[in-house]
Symmetry: C2
Subunit: 276 residues, 2 copies
């Protein structure tokens, strides 16, 4: 008997075309990114409304429940049904989540591009995370990955207004998800990893978004030792990354990067003169 | 008797310096943006934890309550006390907010870089908004504003990882607030407008962030007829902007822009040939 949940595959149209008037007085058809409300129900209880691009709504729902620590394993989920007529995703569990009502009431909404999380609880959990130390990232592999990301066809390139995340094995992109919120893209990847039984402990997590506290916590929770961003970071993102010992690289574009934390896993393999 | 609330002025250090290793093997001192949890209490009831840069925490707390429709007027607020020892902001009202407990329980967390809002309620409210039609934005004023924004000294320029918002009167920047979350920056401006009794009905709202549904709703709620962004927009942002008739301009950088909605308030004043 398989414990993989039954799921729909209800991707939405990702871009729409509207007219815009530019500075030359021209009316141009302009592609823009989709944004849809998706209300998540677990065993008929309303949990959250996510505003999403709709690229991977089932994985998003699963990953949201994973990253919010509402379910502990994919085996707990029997079914994920997305219905865009009602903008709803219904998750059915195999056995009811213990104390869900109490946990929903106690929840503090954490923001700053955040989702509803109990921040204190998450910080406690961060201290219990042990990331693998027997894995390395070579500088050349980083450059190859950045090149693979650059060549990847994206909604961002056509319509902008989305953030992208990738899970990579070396320079190979396993998943690439975009969404209107940074956190939705991360959650969708977390959900897909569970669906495909992919272990994060030797993988690289790439994001176009900023490395804020919640982003670092989520990567660490997934057991991923390498976190790479095209953007910058915040002080709290830095503090948490230092504490959990994740190898965190910011401002990673083309042949440039800034390695902030977890230097022990990084192998400088390209000599500086080769970059000239 | 003045009904202006008593407030602290507890700005946090906005940038921190950490070491980073770059691709040339150099260890560089690198400024990064601050990020602090700030838990909002209203009459001793916990409402939300905001992750913030900490530039304008009192205005942020007030603007959050304003944009979440938890208070209807600045007169309701007697005191706003930020205490960074406990990462808390305590708001005291003149008369208790009616049904606060019930409203907090009913709240749906809306995300996608969102905050806790009751989305359905907000959409209903959007339909009751009437933005002024007797105000115009000249193309030349737009260019002057974009130039003023470009020249403005920002945390973004030094440390990145923040979003900026401005309220402008023509090309004059009245407020410029940055924060780690797009929504915090908007909320801080909404709070400062209340504190200074500034009317939004003839102003321009500028943001570096994307024009998602919540961003458009917040601008409209503040009665602001002009919304300008350096970034793109989402389909739902576009739909709401069309419905409320706001003049919305995206991709606005230097002498470029895309005017999406509310063309009736825009005056094209620079001839195309002058741009060559």
């Amino acid at each position: 008997m398989s414990l993989r949940p039954r799921i729909t595959h209800a991707t939405r149209p990702l871009t729409f075309e509207v007219e815009a008037l530019n500075e030359r007085g021209e009316v141009l058809p302009t592609p823009i990114a989709g944004e849809h409300p998706l209300t998540l129900y677990v065993d008929k209880r309303e949990i959250v409304t996510l505003m999403t691009l709709g690229q991977a709504p089932e994985a998003l729902a699963i990953g949201y429940l994973r990253n919010q620590r509402l379910v502990q394993s994919i085996d707990q989920i029997a079914e994920v049904q997305v219905d865009w007529e009602t903008d709803a995703v219904a998750v059915t569990t195999r056995t009811a989540i213990e104390g869900l009502d109490a946990r929903m009431e106690k929840r503090t909404v954490t923001t700053g591009c955040g989702q509803g999380t109990v921040f204190g609880d998450l910080m406690e959990e961060v201290d219990s995370i042990r990331l693998r130390e027997d894995v390395k990232l070579e500088e050349e592999t980083l450059y190859d990955l950045l090149d693979a990301v650059r060549r990847h066809e994206t909604i961002y390139k056509s319509a902008g207004a989305v953030h992208g995340c990738a899970l990579a094995n070396g320079a190979d992109i396993l998943y690439f998800v975009e969404d209107v919120g940074r956190h939705n893209a991360v959650d969708a990847i977390a959900g897909q990893m569970w669906l495909d039984n992919v272990d994060g402990s030797d993988k690289i997590f790439y994001t176009t978004g900023r490395l804020t506290s919640e982003m670092v916590i989520k990567a660490a929770q997934m057991g991923i030792p390498f976190l790479v961003s095209r953007s910058g970071l915040t002080h709290m993102g830095y503090q948490i990354a230092s504490r959990v010992g994740i190898t965190m690289i910011g401002r990673a574009v083309n042949k440039h990067y800034l390695l902030f934390t977890g230097r022990q896993r990084f192998v400088k393999s390209v000599s500086p003169t080769m970059l000239a």
